[in-house]
Point group: C3
């Protein structure tokens, strides 16, 4: 079965980028493809872009959309095997999965990071349990360690804006007052490698991303050095790796500014949003004409639509 | 007007079961029947299966669906007559009903049990107030004392799996750490009687269900005795009747196990879900091939669709 | 761009009333007009009538509807410019607006009153920021100071029920245990003036509405005097102006009763709902046959539909 989570097949990833660009030209070309089919969107965590863009993507393909906020609309969910369920969790993920399989042709799921245990987060338990038990395709709408629809949308955006075939792409950490997962950074790195960009990763010491995602990317501990001559600056907040899930650094020298952007090769500025203005990045950058954050958000529709279309084509 | 709540008309109930089985064969046969019509789903209490299955059922018939979580999306609702509304409840059920009647062709409502006063719960006030004031048909999506769409779905499931025309059906209490209403048990008993199954009800002393629902069913206070030779085991948690709404018994000897299931006539195992694994029933039963809990969940769609279709046909 | 907020163009307002009355006759006449278009409904505050009626209005015109409860489904939103966003608000209104502009063809937004600062509320910041930055039309679903879809629906209702071309219309304050904004009262007064009714406004001293909205309406501080010979009584709770946002008066002599209604010219009783029975108005009035509150609620559909249709026609 075709799930959408990790992306080991480079050809497949490149085809998805092409498909998304093609769907953007004509979003309604396949508007009967998903007729009489239902996609279930399950949110264990709040969302704006993911929720709306996936819904529009599915509707553009003629699907019915059912959205469930697990913690508000439904019951708390147990994810461990063999538990005697006497606590507050009233439903086991096995039943939730089996039931939603009866109701939906595709399930798209946003899970969460604990930010407590690196090992636990890296096992990506909730998502993988759905993948294990589901009899219908699963789409990862952001899990403990990956946000692949964001990764795909980012690649679509770079493809639209790049001036050379193999652009120099910087993924740089930026400060946040709130502990945030590494999922988006991981997926951006993973996809940049799949698309064969020249990837540089910059962050303070202790914030190293996993090799599994960054591969052979150059790692730089000085942001100004990393910014030299890059074509794209992708800023993202993430929590410490050394003291996993904590904030050990709030160094506002890592806040992106016009001065810093001037070190680049007239780079475009990217961020997945939401973003804390004047913390992660200054107003002057977000409001400049080299910011393409809204283009990224728009491309979330076509990324999701390419993935859903591919799944419908094969099922 | 055709509401869907209690089911005193046996012929009508049997026709609904047939209709549901027939719709399951061809869910889109009447996909234009509800065109330009809207069903409003009002939830005073959280829900997963009911919410999703009713939405799909209505969409299969071409209806628009509007879902309202009363306590999150809207205002708290006063249900008493003549009250001077100076407390936190900003809207009276009379206005909510009158307004939703302007907007929807059918209203489907999930109310709740207080689990405080048996008399109050058995008056089924919120549902009956909607039925009293509504100018459009009301569907009960679970009230203080009934869960008739679950009852209907359960009958559809038994009809699909039974080997003899009048199967022996056991409704057995099982333990829960959380106080739960008697509504699902009541409806299962009520519908089993309507369909003329041989019904046995098993529970500890003090957990008696109302005669109105169980009728002449055999009541047994020993689970092992009750399990002998039955064709279906329907497990359900419910609160004490003697000390209404309380948990007076948490006897895990009532937890369903493979050993207990071996006392039956190779019975199928049923539960409406959500279920607490290894409290109500052991993993070994839920994960066995004689568990049909996912089939029950799937049949919720066709039960709801049969009810909505019948209402649309008559209006 | 055609936003829908204040209504300075009298001809435009009268055309909307006519359009709404015409759509009520044949709601599905333009059911393909909004095909492949999406309206986003953003709620910063809870709602029942507004949510449901706007959704139905958009669906009657063939649009897709996406509803977001900002505080539940998404992130808290910063509305101030230039802020260093280190507090709990994770997204700036500029990004939310830019992103939703990518996803929706029309945005309809319910904001809120602070009820803390009259100056701040009267600047209608959140709504005006959306209007300032949006590249798609904005519909005001109630802001700090206006509720124009309610105003329009109220005018439609008066047009349906009036016996003379220029009816005498009373907007009267009534008591509430909860602090409530002036928005609905403002819009009722503003629209009554646009439609050239004879408007009288009654309230205790200290509860004066802004001249911007009531214009040259007669202001009366005695409710019984104000009720004489009027054709419509529009009751509404609102907070003090003198001590802005507070409740300085809970005088139940202002509660509407049958005796008070008998002072009128057989007036119809109107209220936007939700209403606290026996606080704002007695049961005897709400349950009488001269109450037309449910008609007002029904007309919310056609008011919204007229506005959306006008926007679609021009875009």
């Amino acid at each position: 079965m075709v799930h959408f989570n990790d992306c080991e097949d480079i050809n497949y990833c490149q085809r998805l980028v092409s498909e998304a660009l093609s769907l953007k030209e004509d979003p309604y070309k396949f508007e009967l493809l998903g007729k009489r089919k239902t996609i279930g969107l399950l949110f264990f965590y709040s969302s704006l872009r993911t929720r709306v863009s996936t819904q529009i993507a599915a509707q553009n393909l003629g699907m019915n959309v059912i959205t469930i906020n697990i913690n508000q609309d439904s019951y708390k969910v147990e994810t461990e095997d063999g538990v005697v369920m006497i606590e507050d969790k009233a439903e086991h993920i096995k039943e939730m999965c089996a039931v939603m399989n009866q109701y939906c042709n595709i399930l798209a799921i946003r899970t969460f990071s604990t930010l407590e245990s690196r090992q636990s987060d890296f096992s990506d338990k909730v998502l993988n349990t759905f993948i294990k038990y589901s009899t219908v395709p699963i789409i990862n709408l952001e899990s403990a360690i990956r946000h692949p629809l964001q990764g795909l949308a980012d690649m679509v955006t770079i493809e639209e804006h790049k001036m050379i075939s193999k652009p120099k792409v910087l993924l740089t950490w930026c400060p946040s007052p709130k502990r945030l997962p590494q999922a988006t950074a991981n997926s951006f790195a993973e996809w940049s490698n799949l698309l064969d960009y020249e990837l540089i990763v910059a962050h303070p010491r202790g914030y190293e991303l996993d090799k599994r995602f960054i591969g052979d990317a150059k790692v730089v501990y000085e942001q100004d050095e990393a910014l030299q001559d890059v074509d794209f600056v992708y800023a993202k907040e993430w929590c410490s790796t050394e003291r996993y899930g904590k904030i050990t650094n709030f160094d506002t020298d890592w806040t992106l500014t016009n001065k810093k952007m001037s070190l680049t090769n007239s780079a475009k500025f990217m961020h997945c949003l939401p973003v804390r203005r004047n913390v992660a990045v200054r107003d002057e950058v977000l409001d400049s004409n080299y910011s393409i954050v809204d283009k990224q958000a728009a491309n979330r529709i076509y990324a999701a639509q390419a993935v859903i279309k591919t799944i419908l084509d094969k099922s």
